[in-house]
């Protein structure tokens, strides 16, 4: 094992091993960097850019950028918070998100990140572009209206399930999650027990007959904001107080 080193996030010294990304090292130190496409069991994708930090003054995605010895990383600054808010608001304006009737509400990472970033309402005009729902599978459905193109299902199906059920098709506003070889979910070998079924941060890929099983008040983000588990596990608190 090569030598560990230190770098700084918002002035707090953080330990890292060579090859660690900024996000991983931050995580170990109990510092939460907002993110949506990153998932701990999957290869980094760098797609949503919500984890954008400034490393030695240059913007980069913390989930793909390796930590460098003695580098100075900005994370929780007004400018970065503003950039992240804009990115998340764009996701809301681009998709068709009806939280009030969505079965993922309360367990949704997009919603939870928006709460934590203090987004009371998206400032942009909504696109209202209809997107397809595929409910052909007996146990699973895709509602692309809620999809944020994070590629978690694409990566999980390929790398954890060894199936490559999902892929992307189309460009720009027409980009969407598609299923391999055929058009319908029912024609794939996706199973309701696949790892891909557990990674969707929003309500785009869901199991049928399971919605609303947890009452309001007991859902994942009802009582503690997203990231608070990481912050509670960390050793960074004393260092922060010294500031």
């Amino acid at each position: 094992m090569s030598e560990s080193f230190k770098f700084y996030i918002d002035g707090v010294p953080v330990d890292a091993q060579p090859g660690m990304t900024i996000l991983e090292a931050a995580q170990g130190a109990g510092i939460w960097i907002p993110r949506l496409c990153w998932h701990e069991e999957l290869e980094p994708f760098g797609g949503c850019r919500v984890c954008t930090v400034k490393a030695n003054g240059r913007p980069c995605s913390a989930c793909t950028q390796p930590a460098e010895p003695d580098s100075v990383v900005e994370n929780d600054t007004p400018q970065l918070r503003e950039w992240r808010r804009a990115l998340v608001e764009l996701l809301f304006a681009e998709g068709n998100h009806f939280c009030m009737s969505c079965e993922k509400s309360g367990n949704c990472e997009l919603q939870a990140v928006a709460y934590r970033l203090g987004i009371a309402a998206p400032r942009f005009e909504h696109h209202w572009k209809p997107r397809e729902v595929d409910a052909s599978h007996p146990d699973v459905l895709i509602d692309r209206n809620r999809c944020i193109l994070c590629a978690r299902c694409v990566r999980a199906s390929r790398d954890l399930d060894g199936k490559t059920v999902f892929g992307f098709t189309g460009r720009g506003p027409d980009r969407r999650v598609a299923v391999s070889s055929t058009a319908r979910l029912a024609d794939t070998d996706l199973d309701v027990t696949d790892a891909a079924m557990d990674v969707c941060p929003v309500g785009a890929l869901v199991r049928k007959r399971e919605g609303f099983s947890v009452p309001i008040g007991s859902r994942r983000f009802d009582n503690a904001p997203i990231g608070s588990d990481i912050e509670a596990s960390g050793a960074s608190e004393p260092a922060r107080q010294e500031e």
Binding site: N96, F98, M100, C102, S105, Y115, R123, P130, I216
Partner: protein, 181 residues
């Protein structure tokens, strides 16, 4: 000593936000001490009596009357607040935005399996406000100063918002009071 005036209304909403405001329990008395209600379903004034410090507007804009009302509120309120998810994002009424308006009316008033409509036409009485091409969030129609999300916003969120706005603090809503459901 005159108290700050508040106006409220519901556009393309369900009045659930007003119900949540009333759900302040005994604090509703405190609120009544703090403010004077102007145009609002609470006192049934249909027109503005005086200029208002705060306007709370529930619901988005689905028809021409909604647009006229929100413009009237903008003109008469110092701080205009969009209240609830219909006002901030369009909400449930905006589900029709994914279907062309004509198709929507055809399904609701002509083709729907439970429809009984011998005329075979969607309602077109001149008294009815004309529908917009789609449902708009309030900030897409007029400038909005403050957003209070939720379906509905909790009484706690209402209380925090109204007291902050009356004190003149440009406060951001704390994350635990931001909810979209």
């Amino acid at each position: 000593m005159s108290r700050p005036r508040i106006a409220t209304t519901s556009l393309a909403g369900c009045f659930g936000c007003h119900m949540s405001l009333l759900d302040l329990d005994e604090r509703i008395l405190e609120l009544a001490e703090l403010v004077e209600f102007d145009r609002s379903p609470i006192d049934d004034y249909k027109e503005f009596q005086e200029r208002c410090a705060v306007g709370l507007v529930e619901g988005g804009c689905a028809n021409e009357e909604n647009v006229a009302t929100i413009r009237e509120f903008r003109k008469n309120c110092d701080v205009l607040v969009s209240v609830g998810d219909c006002a901030t994002m369009g909400g449930i009424p905006a589900m029709r935005n994914l279907v062309p308006l004509e198709e929507c009316l055809q399904e609701a008033y002509v083709d729907g399996p439970t429809v009984h409509n011998p005329s075979g036409l969607p309602p077109g009485d001149a008294e009815l406000p004309r529908l917009l091409d789609r449902v708009y969030a309030l900030h897409e129609v007029v400038d909005i100063d403050w957003h209070l999300p939720g379906c509905p916003p909790s009484p706690e969120a209402f209380w925090a918002a109204v007291t902050a706005l009356l004190s003149g603090e440009p406060a951001e809503l704390p994350p635990h009071l931001i909810r979209y459901d």
